[in-house]
Symmetry: C2
Subunit: 245 residues, 2 copies
Amino acid sequence: MKILVTNDDGIDAPGINALAEALCEVAEVAVVAPDRERSAVSHALTLHHPLRAIKVGQNRYSVDGTPTDCVNLGIHSLLDFHPDIVVSGINRGANLGDDVTYSGTVAAALEATLMGIPAIAFSLATLADDANYSQAASFAVRLAALVIKNGLPKDTFLNVNFPAKGELLSPLITTQGKRRYEGTIVDKVDPRGRSYYWIGTADLDFHDIEGSDYAAIKRGHISITPLHLDMTNHYSIAHLNSWTF
Amino acid sequence: MKILVTNDDGIDAPGINALAEALCEVAEVAVVAPDRERSAVSHALTLHHPLRAIKVGQNRYSVDGTPTDCVNLGIHSLLDFHPDIVVSGINRGANLGDDVTYSGTVAAALEATLMGIPAIAFSLATLADDANYSQAASFAVRLAALVIKNGLPKDTFLNVNFPAKGELLSPLITTQGKRRYEGTIVDKVDPRGRSYYWIGTADLDFHDIEGSDYAAIKRGHISITPLHLDMTNHYSIAHLNSWTF
């Protein structure tokens, strides 16, 4: 197995190191990851300035760009192999429900899927500094091997979330859940008297929909959601065709 | 009608001005847009530093953030009204097929949808500096009024693309098309002898799939694609449930 590993927490994050180390025991692994935390950068691609890649070890590159940039540079320029799979994570914090659209971790898997390479995004549902990624990493190794063996449905990648604590219960195949949306913007005045705004992250609060990623995590299961590149609401096409423009 | 207008080309782009001016004739309009071009920033949200908003006119704000930031700040902090609809664009260049996942224009509409506000993203399929946005803007006004009147299917927004030139043919309800993916990374050496990488944008090249956004634009029609927040590949769930983990 040849595997490209990336993330959005940055190349020095504990989650990516746990993942890469576990994979190294069964595969040839390259790491191409952002040089710093790039959370919530979504599927952003750096078009307006050049990127730098620093070789920080054997098959290990630190890039001053987004996770999507890293997948691009890895595949097209840096790696001396074509990966069988791209894995992203293990993210510090869950990527559930509508939040997948903000996530750099998920976007890296999406980018690989656009290139026709199987991909999985992994996230651990805790922000704790002393989080233990080893159980999640062990499962990630098994799942990566399974995906390479079985293949994935067309244009589809897996978004995997692990519950924060305790024995991991069996994985469930889930649907993308629904966030309870609450804007939390801090509106303050700086030391020079000018207004500033700071977008907050709300607490993990989702609708408890049966079969959803959130419902699985809440009950201690590993959640595996198949996500598709096609965002078309196919069911609405007939309805919209009845409109008079 | 109360309308929030944003984009990803920046507040001084001709497309947003054409759109806002046309809407002003029939609605109360506020503009909250990035202070510079923020193309390809996708659904990125600025979490790690504060944002500034400069009032540059009546109900007109320039923000040093992403389109998603602009929608957040507009709705939660800056506007003195709750909009009936959020419109984004008119983007300089098409947002077709898989490219919707990179687009800041499309992400702004997605963000509004997460907030439960109807939303439309508009793009003109040309990069020409002398592009004429007036025909597209006229249609945008009609479509915005229609969406407010009819409502949109749940968790769904519209991604609208206009062909570059000529008489606009009737709008078609389309599906998200498929890009021919080709990485184009420029790999060069800077004046100080260090390597740099620059991600290129490939030419507009899509599979000509019947009923797709690209097929509509290519034939001179306005393309209207209903996009859904849920990326779950529901069809693959039964298949994945047959895997042994």
